[in-house]
């Protein structure tokens, strides 16, 4: 779980072109200046990294109970999906 958290924060920081140290569980994705395609690229990067499918639809505030408001939301969702889908840190 700790590894997932570190890895997710790294992926988010990379997509937001910022230092990993500047992204915490409380960081809101909206404050990272992620533009329209950045969120979709972020999800793709997470799916590739953890070998999971993330059910995300840009037209909904929340898809299958998952929302991506804060970095912590992303960590929790990825950890849950890794457990469910037997994904792995690639």
């Amino acid at each position: 779980m700790a590894d997932v958290a570190t890895d997710v924060l790294e992926v988010i920081a990379k997509q937001a072109k910022t230092e990993p140290a500047k992204v915490t569980r409380e960081t809101e994705l909206a404050d990272l200046n992620l533009e329209s395609l950045d969120t979709i690229e972020l999800i793709f990067a997470l799916e590739e990294k953890f070998n999971i499918e993330i059910p995300y639809n840009a037209n909904e505030a929340s898809t299958a109970g998952i929302n991506f408001t804060t970095a912590g939301d992303v960590i929790d969702a990825v950890a849950k999906l890794v457990a469910e889908q037997k994904g792995s840190a690639a």
Binding site: E35, L37, I40, I43, E53, N57
Partner: protein, 402 residues
Amino acid sequence: MNRVVITGLGVCSPLGKNAAEFSATLKAGKSAIGPISIIETEGLITKIGAQVLDFDPNAYFESNKLPLYDRCTQFALVAAREAIAQSGLDFRNGLGARSATIIGSGVGGQGTQDENYQRLYLQGAKRCHPLTIPKLMINAPCCHITMEHGITGPSFVVASACSSANHAIGVAFQMVRAGMVEVAVTGGTEAVFTFGTIRGWEALRVMAPDTCRPFSLGRKGMVLGEGAAVMVIESRERALARGATIVAEILGFGTTSDASDIVMPALDGAAGAIAACLEDAKLAPEAVDYVNAHGTGTAANDITETKALHKVFGAHAKKLAVSSTKSMHGHTLGAAGAIELAATIAGMHGGFIPPTANYAEADPQCDLDYVPNEARSGAINVAISNSFAFGGHNAVVAVRRA
């Protein structure tokens, strides 16, 4: 400047493989969105689409011609035959040299590309079929129309993603209006149901898993469609002189570019194209009865398009009937403008306003009259048809009942 009229219309779409069938299905408000069955869906997340079902190419084409015709070319040829037959024109008596063929397509022969690359990459094939390139090239539907009908004037394909067909019709309209050609065959075609294309669309995270509900609360995105619509256009003077039946008049064309985001729509670009179209058509906003909306069913488009209509039409916006027929024939991408202009004309002729199917509940941010779920009887005299594409290409066409 010539006034420009439509004298032939052909459709090969999920709602019908000819214009009459298309019109009847539209009027019934019946959506063609359903389970994808023309390709294997294993490995796809998106299992729904609006397909041209029971389409047997052998019923339309000789077997020696088919190896050159991708599905998108087949649709275009079927629609062009119907349009040209209705117009009563013969291009082989000298008219062909004074006629243009301008067709829109977003991506061309995806089925051919997918099939050949699968053979190479997956099945270890040593070579491609020699007709691979001429079959998949995006201009193939256009050149086969010229060959089948002997149209030897200017011909090319316009590609601006989801605005391709409206741009094609707009360019053809301007050519006839300016007198560069006497007649133009124009429209759009698309056939994108391949594993690779659908996976690509899924990755954009804009595909609805249930259905397409434009402007409705609870909408979850777009649903892909396929098909073609083609029309024959000529100067009004020419059509009257030869006693042709006029289907509708094209009044104007407006087009702008957002020059901002590659996928997100922009209010100024969309509103600018609508306003430019009205200006070109010399139409007061109050003269417009109906808008065939771009209405993709995505969160972003439908709100932006509603705002754009408010911005251009002011108080009259609330009096407009606005519908997205994509709720029935899906998003046919490069064919969308042509199929949607055909839907507008079908309504004009049938005395009905095409509905927005699958409409569930009012969205406070989409506050216009979207003609929910059932066609409404009523006359459409003047209409506009909107297309707003990825890449920020906006194109709007205005038509009047003949």
